[in-house]
Symmetry: none
Subunit: 539 residues, 2 copies
């Protein structure tokens, strides 16, 4: 059975940037456009060249770039009321952008024509038809974005259809039906698309927003009813609750329905999704379907043992299909099977009869009872396993520290730390200040350690979380600190628990450094003894 | 037209805690349960009492609590193969939990019976029927959670239906159909629920997961096909990609379809949703539909002017319906009305022409820009308003503090603080130790203050939360500390922000004390001058 083709129209670079806190430079946009092309996206909407010079700049750069799969697309609006399209600055800017395809939006909701455009219903139809006819005379592909189409259709179906017919007469190649306010329900989309399909001959598209958490379902409903183009954004970026999330729509269509969007390039989906978040400098939502870090993550011990028997017991698709991977977390529900799975993942060859296997499960349970939590601290967990199974030794340990914090009136707090560390048997002392006690501690430690392990210069704290754990049976509230660190390539998280926030931070910090130095213990020993000879270490 | 009732079954406290990074103490669970009850939720699933002592502890506390709307519900599994339900420890723990309703899951997918349970198809049917019959003999309401039902039905519809019939014979009050792997599409859910409805007489429920970003749509599809109970979690918490998000399902059903779930309590939705995230110490997703901070936020200049003309041009519902509010980035309108509303709530008589009104809106904006957030810090917010509108003065302020932390080897950290406070114009100095820097600071402050304000002896810190805020335009990461305090009767929360965790804690701590002393400022002055005469205060 041949698969029906659905064209993916990405508007991350235009509608996606309307999202709060998302802002992309021309260079960012070009980088993302190249990745989207490599993902097999059919249309890349780059911006609104008539609205600002930054967008025009992007089009001038992008139209000089060769795209393999994608048509570079520019966005704009119909001409103004009672004006001639050929004299419209916005329409001329679209043509000048060099884009291969042009999307223009127009009103299809009578209320909007009167309230927002403040013109007549007839004039609006002329604006749509003539604007499209003008663009078609320039030999570009034209998409008509029917703004507020579903709300318009519900209010006045005849007029909404008239507006589409005007676009069809103008020669539009696509009629994209927009659920601009994002409030439609899937069955409404389904019914309305079916009716539109019966009255028009031009291929249909769908442009959904996620205000009801239904943008993916609404996009699928439109496709099942006959739409052949889906407009959306990577990771669902966009204003308010975002646009339809292409990272979920594509696999639902390709892996679960008989459609094709980007073919085998779907294995690039996870990578591309994360790349876009990184360039936009926003957190990639771990629970994001298909591509999130937690999308195929298993926590419960019972689930884990079932997963080991047969993955399809708790996974709807194979994670590799979309370029993602399975993860197994440790939690208080942890059992031996979790530990063994995790060890295997880390390349530690061990079976359930290993003499340490039972001890380590007990140790994890004890630590969890104290308030440790390893599911968000995989770095600390890996250190535990390596200590148990491969005899890993702590490369650094604490001799002592002192921290002095001082604040006077409205002045900033000053914060100084003195740290004595034992590094492979050598005690080294150093002092530093910081903008907080943990920062001062970190700075003081690094002062010595970076001399011995220059790689640590690339390691930075990227997140720091503190939580009071209300263990009712304990005597005093404990504090759990989670630290996330990165060396630019990898990210790892470590944990510390204590009644004292600084001590808890110290444990997490020490683990972070130990993790960073994994595999470098021998270099360390060597460098340490060299440094000792050079007199760098002080007792 | 009367609305059809749909029963909302919340499993935030059980399935929600399977989510990565989500862990709730018994106290957290009880706090959340009370808020869910106030939201009008019908069933609150609190945990699995047979699986761990922490969950049993929760049930013992919760079953002593009076809920107005909700039935406290316990979760567990059917008895084991070839065992007698009345001798099953798990089933007996369920009964002992004191819950009014019990949900037990069983297998309905033949592949799962054979692969995971490793028993016969017949034995599985007996386990379901007899386990339910046993629970029904204890006079509790019983929900049968048909695990993997949709995958099971697709693989072997006859057996899946047989399993439901066994539950029906056992006397189940509800058959909840689970899309355990979260991979089903809405039209599949719709077809299968319709078929099940035709073959069984017991009311149906739906339990969806979000692996295809379709959990909300799938839950709605089930309801449209006749299901009357929806299982889900607040904010969609849950394993992998989360469970069906009740915060989206409820408004879609109540505001857009002819169903009733929680009636007029829906205006509490936003507040409750944010409260749950705060207690779980996870970020409340700003783009979350209906309840997110950005859900009704308008950025584009064109949208904003349209919104000001008529909100329905870019909003699918009125934000107030769900207790949320419109935000217009760059306009002050939203802020002012919010401040006036809050002031009125506190009994402060003030209108928009008050000379301080604009200043306070600007001050709040500035503070929010610095990283303050007042939604979970109403105590600090109230102090701000009282300072602006009623001329409240800070009863205490800081002269200086010094904190010394010290750790040697494996010994505990020692922690000493010296604090100089200005209390109504008198400087008092005191020193104390603590099990952490904040605790030492708190103890030192109290040493002086409790002499002057004996009521403070009843005030305790009940929660302390820290979050790093990554202000994108800022130069250094800031830290936000939220403190919750209680005097046994009332609870209030305060906030502090700084680059330094101790300074941020200090701000929150000082606000907590100031709040505790609200209305006692005059006693203070009096006692302070008396004490001065007695020589208690030292300069």
């Amino acid at each position: 059975m041949t698969r029906k083709k659905v064209y993916i129209y990405d508007t991350t670079l235009r509608d996606g940037t309307q999202g709060e806190g998302i802002s992309l430079s021309s260079e960012d946009k070009l980088k993302i456009a190249k990745k989207l092309d490599r993902l097999g996206i059919s249309y890349i909407e780059g911006g609104w060249p008539g609205s600002n010079p930054k967008d025009m700049e992007f089009f001038l750069q992008a139209s000089a770039t060769t795209f393999t799969h994608a048509k570079l697309t520019a966005f704009g609006s119909t001409c103004r009321a009672y004006s001639d399209p050929s004299e419209d600055a916005n329409l001329n800017a679209l043509v000048a952008s060099g884009a291969q395809a042009i999307a223009i939006f127009g009103k299809t909701w009578d209320f909007q024509v009167i309230e927002a455009l403040r013109t007549t219903l007839e004039e609006n139809l002329r604006m749509i038809e003539e604007s499209i006819a003008f663009l078609k005379s320039k030999h570009v592909e034209v998409i008509f974005d029917a703004e507020h189409f579903f709300d318009g259709y519900k209010a006045n179906p005849d007029y909404a259809i008239e507006a589409l017919k005007a676009a069809e007469r103008g020669g539009a190649d696509w009629l994209a039906l927009c659920d601009t306010n994002g409030g439609s329900l899937p069955h409404e989309i389904s019914e309305i698309v079916t009716k539109v399909k019966a009255e028009l001959h031009t291929p249909l598209g769908i442009h959904a927003h996620n205000d009801g958490e239904l943008a993916v379902a609404n996009s699928l409903a439109a496709v099942y009813a006959g739409a052949e183009q889906i407009q959306g954004t990577m990771n669902g970026f966009g204003e308010r609750c975002g646009n339809a999330n292409l990272c979920s729509i594509i696999p639902n269509l390709q892996l679960k329905s008989n459609y094709d969007c980007i073919g085998e390039l779907i294995t690039r989906l996870t990578k591309t999704s994360r790349y876009v978040s990184e360039v936009a400098n926003v957190v990639h939502h771990p629970n994001q379907p298909f591509v999130g870090r937690s999308a195929f993550t298993h926590k419960g011990g019972m689930h884990v043992s079932a997963i080991l028997k047969n993955a399809k017991t708790y996974e709807h698709i194979e994670p590799e299909t979309v370029g993602n991977q399975r993860r197994v977390l440790m939690s208080e529900l942890a059992g031996l099977s979790n530990v063994l799975f995790k060890a295997k993942e880390l390349g530690i060859d061990v079976d359930k009869d290993h003499p340490q296997a039972k001890n380590i499960v007990q140790e994890i349970k004890d630590l969890e009872h104290q308030g440790y939590q390893f599911e968000a601290a995989e770095g600390s967990f890996e250190l535990l396993l390596r200590k148990a199974f491969t005899g890993l030794q702590d490369v650094i340990s604490l001799d002592s520290f002192k921290i002095l914090l001082e604040k006077r009136g409205d002045q900033r707090v000053t914060c100084d730390a003195i740290v004595k560390l034992n590094v492979n048997g050598n005690v080294c002392i150093s002092a530093a200040e910081g903008n907080g006690p943990v920062n001062a501690l970190d700075n003081a430690m690094r002062k010595t350690l970076e001399d011995i392990y220059p790689d640590l210069k690339n390691v930075h704290l990227t997140d720091y979380k503190v939580r009071v754990i209300d263990e009712k049976d304990g005597t005093a509230a404990k504090i759990r600190v989670l630290i996330e660190s990165s060396n630019g390539e990898n990210t790892w998280s470590t944990v510390g628990v204590s009644e004292n926030i600084i001590e808890a931070s110290w444990y997490a910090l020490a683990d972070s450094i130990r993790y960073a130095l994994l595999g470098k213990e021998n270099d360390a020993l060597q460098t340490a003894s060299q440094n000792e000879r050079k007199g760098i270490l002080n007792h």
